[in-house]
């Protein structure tokens, strides 16, 4: 399985590079990201300012370094929260059939009925911008997708003969759920988690671009792009550079997701007869 290992290596190197540069930003950044020097506004890359300066003369390099932190962190937290919520509801709906299943499925359908981005915009818009409103919007819109997929996985595993065998051996529901059902579901859930983190980063970026997520003084890639909209004719690099960073981050996450998915299906190709 050389292909997936190769992909895995690139993805991990890219991701660690971005995350490290984000974490070490305070020491790496030459200037304070929010310090304004109106004198040197809109300069191209030069010796002092490696990536040039933006409309308010702030150093682009340090803003780029700080730029990734907020969205990655927020995306991870949001996805973990919505995954846990989704798993709890999905497993309950899948394992305990009957009324519990019907009620939970209907609730999931309601939340899935409303298009994700529109609901997110509505929530962020009404509650006003800010980190925790953004977090709430992200979790409310994405847990339904998780719970639907987890429910189908639970139904699939519950019907496996070895689960029936264990039940015949006298295993209690908790052991069946915790020690057998969930570990068997983990590989698919991990793949789902990686793709969902990627999607959350995208949603955060779009909301911040519309001014509903992270607010201007905060150095974030999408906020930088939205600020630079007015000057895109004169200083295009203000748009291109932060965009490229975001693209690399998303590309690495997607690559990681693909590599994990290939890794999971490896066993299927074993020779059945032998």
């Amino acid at each position: 399985m050389k292909k997936s290992d190769f992909q895995m290596k690139i993805a991990i190197t890219l991701l660690s590079f971005i995350i490290l540069s984000g974490l070490l930003a305070p020491w790496l950044a030459p200037y304070d990201p929010n310090e304004i020097h109106m004198a040197v506004r809109l300069q191209g890359p030069s010796k002092e300012y490696l990536f040039g300066t933006d409309a308010l003369g702030r150093d682009m390099l340090s803003r780029i370094l700080y730029g990734g932190r907020a969205s990655i962190l927020l995306a991870l937290i949001a996805t973990t929260l919505s995954m846990t919520l989704g798993m709890i509801i999905g497993v309950c709906a899948g394992y305990f059939t009957g009324v519990c299943d019907i009620v939970l499925t209907v609730v999931t359908q309601i939340f899935q009925g409303i298009p994700g981005t529109c609901l997110m915009i509505a929530i962020a818009g009404i509650l006003g911008p800010g980190m925790n409103h953004l977090l709430l919007a992200l979790v409310v819109t994405s847990w339904a997708g998780f719970s639907r997929i987890v429910r189908t996985e639970t139904l699939r595993i519950r019907e496996q003969p070895y689960m029936e065998g264990l039940r015949a051996l006298g295993a209690g529901t908790s052991t069946l759920l915790l020690k057998h059902l969930i570990p068997n579901m983990l590989p698919n859930v991990v793949v789902l988690f990686t793709t969902r983190v990627g999607r959350s980063v995208l949603s955060i970026a779009s909301l911040s671009y519309l001014g509903l997520g992270l607010q201007p003084p905060h150095p974030d890639w999408s906020v930088m792009i939205s600020d630079a909209r007015l000057h895109y004719r004169s200083a295009p690099h203000l748009i291109i550079v932060p965009g490229l960073c975001m693209f690399t981050l998303l590309f690495a996450i997607n690559l990681l997701g693909d590599a994990l998915r290939d890794r999971m299906d490896v066993r299927e190709e074993e020779v059945k007869e032998w």
Binding site: E164, G165, A168, L169, G170, T175, N184
Partner: protein, 239 residues
């Protein structure tokens, strides 16, 4: 066969499957009576889809019955639940038909075999370890197999490991739902021989479900034939 103590009984069991989208064959049981005496190998034969496996699942209390009851050593247990059932659950064990999916694919076989002890709150004492060693030699399973995963082991070995897992709980009844029909002829022969000498050593009683007439004649003391959810002729063959 003098009248031995009845160990497992089922009295006029009826079970109707609604023809929901999921269920292809409507396989219902119409007031089935079955008694398994101690130390007996009872064969249960019939075409596929006649209700053999459903009856087995009802006896194991994996499926609720519409009416009728299951008796364990004379006491009705259909209504009971929780810890009164512990003796029953430990006493009756089940060996499934499909070898490749009777173990959790994510766990090493050694762990899966030992795990049921924890279901009955039994610690992994020295006594149990010795008992496991004895069983491994009886079932001719090499120690190294316990370290492997289910997909790295052949069908015959998996069935023997399933037997080992069941026998570790010192059961009194084994319900074998076509446990050897998926195996090759030579492996089946070996499995039957092992089942035979296990029966003497641990004086177990078997409910042996199969659709292979010759195998049933050879192996079972008494054979019951089922057809579309009903028992045709009780005890046609007494050898």
């Amino acid at each position: 066969m003098q009248d031995k103590a009845k160990i497992l009984e089922a009295k006029n069991i009826t079970k109707i499957f609604q023809n929901g989208f999921g269920k292809k064959s409507i396989c219902s049981l119409k007031n089935v009576d079955i008694t398994l005496n101690e130390g007996e190998i009872l064969g249960l034969m019939g075409p596929s889809g006649c209700g053999k496996s459903t009856l087995a699942r009802i006896l194991l209390r994996l499926l609720p019955t519409d009416s009728g009851e299951v008796l364990w050593k004379g006491e009705a247990i259909t209504k009971k639940c929780g810890h009164q059932l512990l003796a029953f659950q430990r006493g009756v064990q089940f060996i499934p038909q499909r070898p490749e999916s009777s173990f959790d694919p994510r766990l090493r076989l050694g762990k899966s075999v030992v795990e049921p002890l924890s279901f009955f709150k039994e610690s992994w004492s020295e006594k149990n370890r010795k008992r496991l060693q004895v069983l491994l030699t009886q079932l001719s399973i090499s120690e190294e197999l316990l370290g492997r995963y289910p997909h790295q082991v052949s069908g015959g070995e998996i069935q023997r490991l399933a037997l080992c897992r069941a026998l570790l709980l010192q059961p009194e009844v084994l319900i074998l739902d076509e446990s050897t029909s998926m195996l090759d002829v030579s492996v089946q022969a070996q499995m039957i021989q092992i089942l035979a000498d296990l029966q003497e050593k641990h004086h177990l009683s078997y409910l042996f479900i199969t659709h292979d007439r010759e195998l049933a004649n050879y192996f079972c003391n008494r054979i019951i034939v089922m057809e579309k959810g009903e028992i045709l002729k009780k005890g046609i063959l007494q050898n």
